[in-house]
Symmetry: C2
Amino acid sequence: MDTTQRTDQQRSADQRRRELLEAADRVVLRDGPHASMNAIAAEAGITKPILYRHFGDKGGLYAALAKRHTDALLDSLRAALDAPAERRERVEATLDTYLAAIEARPQVYRFLMHPAEGGQPGDPGFDVGKHSAPLLRRMGEELAQVIEERLDLGPGGQQLARVWGHGIVGMMHAAGDWWLGERPCSRAELVRSLADLLWGRLAAAGDRVGGPGF
Amino acid sequence: MDTTQRTDQQRSADQRRRELLEAADRVVLRDGPHASMNAIAAEAGITKPILYRHFGDKGGLYAALAKRHTDALLDSLRAALDAPAERRERVEATLDTYLAAIEARPQVYRFLMHPAEGGQPGDPGFDVGKHSAPLLRRMGEELAQVIEERLDLGPGGQQLARVWGHGIVGMMHAAGDWWLGERPCSRAELVRSLADLLWGRLAAAGDRVGGPGF
DNA sequence: ACATGCATGTTACTTGCGGTAACACCAGTC
DNA sequence: GACTGGTGTTACCGCAAGTAACATGCATGT
């Protein structure tokens, strides 16, 4: 077994894989998550079985595709999270980074959020929590880690950080999703409003005249 | 055209529709969102074409099904939101109501959150925002309305309330989804942590030793 | 009584997609 | 020149969505 040959083959295989992923990317970007394996294969200039040899099944391809974009987005977010500025500014930068990303490529975003597969055909249907958008989970965990590292939350802080991580990510996601659909305001306003929410303005707001507040 | 006859037919049709929906409910609860039209028809003791006559297509059936559960859940949430207590207590009650619901029937919850269809086959693929879980949207709008009605948020308050409504719902959803999968703590603890987040504890927390905070 | 609607139900089909089996080609290696 | 391993193909299976086309029960109008 020659090492150089093996390396060459490996490199070429990886190269091929990357090409296939880029083709798949184009198709998903054009057709949305409904893209069929046939269409992807055609875009790549080949036929289905090759895709299956490389990625196992559709879930595998989608997972690989999702990983690429998720990694890229997470890198951006980490950069915003690590910027040298005070807390509020960092939070706003992170929110804005995420929103800018989904605004720039809504198709990709939509694909990442709704893989809509994940469950093996033979599953006894009860895997809630595992399949819902891995991107959200990864972002949640990442943010949780940052929070836990940098904030002093007292006893039980680690768990609190995880809850907050997932909660904040979910807030960002849902608000972004809604905003992307209705565009009721500018991105900057949205960022500001969300940061205000996280800064406790909900608790601080006064009651309206006429009854007890929410 | 006799009115009584028409009414009778209508009533019977509605009755049938309800029966079909309940059968579909059972199947979805048992098999998850992968339930096939054949399976649902079999459960109802009939065959496919009848389902299609009643609901148009699978999306129609799923939409009808989702509406039932969404309405039910929203009623519960409204009750929690309207309880006679102070703001923090209401928020906690609302969070707890939602979490209790998804905890009690994860299959239903999962079905509601991942319809995974929605787009017409002929769509020119760019309807981001419309298809992602109608339940989240409805809850967001509902909460926004409550917030706007009861809180004095100053100028731009209406828009702020909408952002917050969707944001809070998203936070609740994502945290609940994660919690349901990992069960890292009790429901009460989760509720408390999320309420703390909304109450500004993130902004108030002190930096950890060794560097600027998040 | 008989024909006319009309809703309800069926069987049998088409279409399209995920996934696979079997075969063909084209390097390099012994 | 036979052997091996990777790349590629065509042709197929299974399954689920969705659709004709036909059959039946039951009220009505003449």
